[in-house]
């Protein structure tokens, strides 16, 4: 099952449609990292709403995607982790440490937009919006 990857402006959106095998997950990782370079993407959203299980392999692959994308200049957000999936992940002891998450696609896009603005503000030497500044 190949995961469709959509390009939306500076962002790539991968919407997982069904259960994925380990090979599918690895293929998604390769495709995303390749496309971050090809499209000079600044953000990656992986929508896992359709995943009914997240086991150690899935979590490790999502972490790898986020870390590899960051090394290529793009921020990753995982969206749509279902409540029951989150419960099972916690019991398994699986964390997405160092990886941004958001409730759904809309929140994920808003997060990336915020990140983009902050990055721009930093580059231009201004403080970030909302009254916060970075040292």
């Amino acid at each position: 099952m190949e995961v469709p990857i959509l390009k939306q402006g500076l962002y790539l959106i991968a919407s997982i449609q069904s259960a994925l095998t380990d090979a599918d997950l690895s293929a998604l990782r390769e495709a995303l990292i390749e496309r971050v370079g090809k499209y000079r993407a600044r953000g990656v959203i992986v929508d896992v709403t359709a995943l009914d299980v997240m086991d150690s392999f899935a979590v490790r692959t999502l972490r790898d995607i986020a870390h590899m994308a960051r090394l290529r200049g793009a921020e990753t957000v995982i969206v749509g982790i279902q409540p029951e999936v989150a419960f099972a992940m916690v019991q398994l002891g699986l964390t997405l440490k160092g990886v941004s998450t958001a409730l759904d696609l809309e929140e994920g896009l808003a997060f990336l937009d915020r990140q983009g603005r902050e990055r721009l503000d930093r580059v231009q030497g201004r403080g970030t919006r909302g009254g916060t500044t970075r040292g």
């Binding site: 095998t21 086991d55 150690s56 029951e84 419960f87 019991q91 398994l92 699986l94």
Partner: protein
């Protein structure tokens, strides 16, 4: 405990990553049939996924048997994962968080144990490994 009556048995051969997905899906379906909540179905599927992947990773092949049992006013889903792989020399250690011989997270076995109600590993080095895990639910009088 005596031998509870067997209601149904499903056997899934594990020889590739596709089988890991189908084992956990069959586990979820059977759990649903047995009346487990969708939260419990997810928990059972996650545990099966970890144990099936271990078979693939360490033993290359094996099988997973799924079965529903009745015990008094309890319904149980039993997962038996068998392989004839290298076995686990130190099961106690393998059940500790973070112990991995493959550079993994070392969370599969201890995590699956936390997800399920009963968990048992029998392993003989050079002969193979059998993981038996169970989830119980109270049957409601209808």
């Amino acid at each position: 405990m005596g031998a509870p009556p067997v209601a149904e048995e499903l056997l899934v051969a594990i020889t590739s990553d596709v089988d890991v997905v189908s084992a956990r899906q069959k586990g979820r379906e059977l759990a649903a049939e047995a009346g487990f909540s969708s939260g419990d179905q997810t928990v059972i599927a996650a545990a099966i996924s970890e144990i099936a992947r271990n078979i693939l990773m360490y033993a290359k092949r094996g099988e997973i048997a799924l079965r529903i049992v009745m015990n008094g006013d309890l319904d149980g889903l039993i997962v038996v994962a068998r392989d004839q792989g290298p076995g686990i020399p130190d099961v106690t250690r393998a059940l500790q968080d973070g112990y991995s011989t493959s550079g993994g997270l070392g969370l599969g076995l201890p995590g699956a144990r936390r997800l399920m109600d009963d968990f048992d590993v029998v392993s003989i080095p050079g002969k193979g490994t059998t993981v038996t895990m169970k989830k119980w639910r109270r049957r409601h009088a209808s």
